[in-house]
């Protein structure tokens, strides 16, 4: 495993306290996780860190990152990320965002195109297609969610990812952490995760790759193609036998696609 650590990064005299995971060495790469809490230094971060200096911050309101109350609009949020990442690295950085994190990554590439060396959107939110609606993640039953999230909900990777603590108190705390995460990210996505990115996306000039699972039942693969249509020159890789979380369900194919792309930029 690559050497890594947890740390807290303060902004504006402590108004914001960002918890993040950091590891590896090389060119800087920022990974932004989805609407649920990221589960520590997971294998996909470790793989990225074998070649890059990885920063994986927790979003405001999640994993102990403080400051959500100071962010009222998407504009506030995007400027927060620009300032936060600017404090982590002064160099242009690779930016990888999954799901909700992909929506933030796309907005960040809109806001500061010269800072984003390359952009990777994985099962990303941010757009809306009436004929391919994104699932309402807030009302799915656990069974519906499992079916929409995974190509194979019974796979070892899926079961390990969704496993609940045995201890009832720990289990309830984990549930509350998930609710808190959904509540926090919902501040910027509720009730539909389309906040006008199509009007701004022409500003993206970073090399861009979409990575999608062919069986993504939450954010259908149609969105990979829509992002590709809206970002001229971008690439898309649709991974077979894969749901909404390619870095967990098909980690080898995922990392092959991401490394292949990043090595060119």
């Amino acid at each position: 495993m690559v050497e890594h650590r947890s740390k807290t990064h303060e902004l504006q005299g402590g108004k914001f306290r960002v918890n993040l995971l950091e590891g590896g060495s090389g060119d800087p790469l920022v990974f932004l996780h989805g609407a649920r809490p990221q589960g520590g230094w997971t294998p996909h971060l470790d793989m990225l860190a074998s070649r890059y200096h990885v920063f994986a911050p927790f979003h405001p309101g999640i994993g102990g990152t403080e400051g959500l109350d100071h962010l009222d609009s998407l504009w506030d949020l995007v400027l927060f990320y620009e300032e936060m990442v600017g404090g982590l690295t002064s160099e242009p950085y690779h930016l990888v965002g999954h799901s909700y994190g992909g929506m933030i990554a796309a907005e960040l590439a809109v806001q500061s195109p010269s800072k984003v060396r390359s952009l990777v959107l994985v099962g990303s939110l941010g757009l809306w297609l009436d004929d391919a609606p994104i699932a309402d993640i807030y009302v799915l039953t656990p069974e519906e969610r499992a079916k929409a999230t995974w190509r194979n909900p019974e796979s070892e990777a899926a079961l390990a990812y969704t496993a609940q603590p045995e201890d009832p108190v720990a289990k309830r705390e984990a549930e509350l952490a998930t609710i808190e995460a959904l509540a926090s990210t919902g501040k910027f996505t509720w009730p539909i995760p389309d906040k006008g990115l199509t009007k701004r996306i022409h500003r993206v000039n970073s090399p861009t790759l979409m990575v999608w699972g062919d069986s993504d039942g939450l954010v259908p693969p149609a969105y990979a193609h829509e992002f590709q249509r809206l970002i001229p020159g971008s690439e898309a890789v649709v991974i077979e036998e894969c749901g909404h979380i390619p870095h967990v369900e098909q980690p080898e194919k995922y990392i092959e696609a991401v490394f292949g792309f990043l090595s060119k930029h």
Partner: protein, 410 residues
């Protein structure tokens, strides 16, 4: 003691197999299930019942706001209240209330409530609920985590607009108005009484007490369970050094009166069954959008007032006997109802009792029977409760009902 008649205006014609076919009477029940011709007759009956409540001597009539559901056909309670402003004369118009976080600008609520107050000759009680998760975050698409902040700002704006005589500037987070100038303004001065319905969330108690409003607990799980919430409210009141005037609290109770205990079951059981098993059928996630309640409240394990969470938290009553035993419904002969209602009033220390006397599918004649037996056989025995207290949370013009003998202050 103030005793009011609460109406939910349910849609009565859900099919027998509704529960098998639909997960919820709220949010996503297709409106093809609503028959407008039948709906028209329901509105007629319900308005008759509300008007009759005024004639029978209830202190107030209560209406409320819900959206996208078969549970209550009042997306705009103000429309109903405006009819009642003209067709009733003695009772308070308790609008409980308008979900003020939903309106931008909420000036609309200030205006309509002021109209109601003027139209009714100063009989309005203004309720400002946060609103259910179903209504606010799903049917009206509000961001759950911002709902309470929005509610607070709307409240601040409405209250200031009612009490300020010159146009003013309001620079809020959600509402910016260069000219706040509400016409008409309320008849009651400085403003109509304010009641806040809460579902037992920690956030609401301090907020209500600091502003000296009435706290209303509207649950359909009866006084035995309501006690847990109101005990907490009274405890907090004492901690803050605030007096324990029972009129600080409002409580809703389902009540069914008949000639005998067994006749009550024959009269009402099927209607109560419709209420619990159809009207209150809410798909769990709709009742609890993430952020609707704070993590602290969730950790404290409080239930939402309506919805699957509330229902699944203990063993569920399946029939008449369970509803009675658990206090969800107070029902029976006049003597039985008197006894249990007195017990409930003391246990909860409630000064503003709201009775749900139309339940589920009850036809008009049966509702009238329930109302008549209640006002003739039950109401006189509880009316003098708390006569040693004054009620500053009631429209001043209605501090006593003239035809009622022996009221405090008479």
């Amino acid at each position: 003691m103030k005793v009011s008649f609460f109406h939910l205006m349910p849609y009565q014609s859900l099919p027998d197999d509704f529960a098998e076919k639909h997960r919820s009477a709220w949010v996503d029940l297709p409106n093809s299930n609503f028959d407008p011709q039948q709906g028209r007759h329901m509105y007629d009956d319900y308005l008759d019942e509300l008007q009759y409540a005024d004639q029978l001597g209830f202190d107030g009539v209560c209406v409320n706001e819900h959206h996208a559901n078969a549970y209550g056909l009042m997306p705009s309670p103000n429309l109903i209240a405006s009819i009642l402003a003209r067709s009733t004369s003695q009772s308070a118009l308790i609008v409980l209330g308008n979900s003020i976080a939903l309106y931008q600008p909420p000036i609309r609520v200030a205006e309509e409530m002021a109209m109601l107050d003027v139209l009714s000759g100063g009989r309005l009680v203004a309720g400002f609920p946060v609103g259910t998760s179903m209504d606010t975050t799903f049917a009206y698409g509000q961001v759950p985590i911002q709902l309470r902040e929005r509610h607070t700002e709307a409240h601040d704006l409405i209250m200031k607009s009612w009490q300020t005589r010159d146009p003013f500037v309001f620079n809020g987070k959600f509402n910016q108005l260069r000219y706040v100038n509400v016409w008409p303004r309320p008849l009651q001065q400085p403003h109509p009484p304010v009641w806040i319905p809460g579902s037992g969330s920690l956030e609401t108690w301090d907020w209500v007490l600091q502003r000296n409003y009435v706290y209303c607990y509207l649950s359909y799980y009866g006084y035995l369970r309501g006690r847990r919430v109101l005990d907490g409210f009274w405890e907090r009141t004492a901690q803050l050094g605030i007096d324990d005037n029972p009129y600080r609290v409002g409580f809703l109770q389902l009540v069914c009166v008949s000639e005998t205990d067994s006749q009550a079951e024959r009269d009402y059981a099927s209607h109560v069954d419709y209420f619990y098993n159809k009207m209150l059928r809410v798909y769990g996630p709709f009742a609890e959008s993430p952020g609707y309640r704070s993590i602290e409240s969730l950790r404290a394990g409080l239930r939402t007032a309506i919805g699957t969470n509330a229902q699944s938290s203990t063993s569920q009553p399946v029939g008449w006997k369970d509803w009675l035993e658990q206090g969800h419904v107070i029902a029976g002969s006049p003597a039985t109802v008197r006894e249990r209602l007195k017990e409930a009033i003391q246990m909860l220390r409630v000064g503003h009792l709201m009775c749900l006397l139309h339940i589920g599918t009850m036809p008009r004649e049966l509702t009238f029977k329930n109302m008549e037996l209640f006002t003739s056989e039950v109401l006189p025995s509880i009316r003098d409760t708390w006569s040693e207290y004054s009620d500053p949370w009631w429209p001043a013009t209605l501090s006593s009902r003239p035809e009622m003998a022996g009221l405090p202050g008479d």
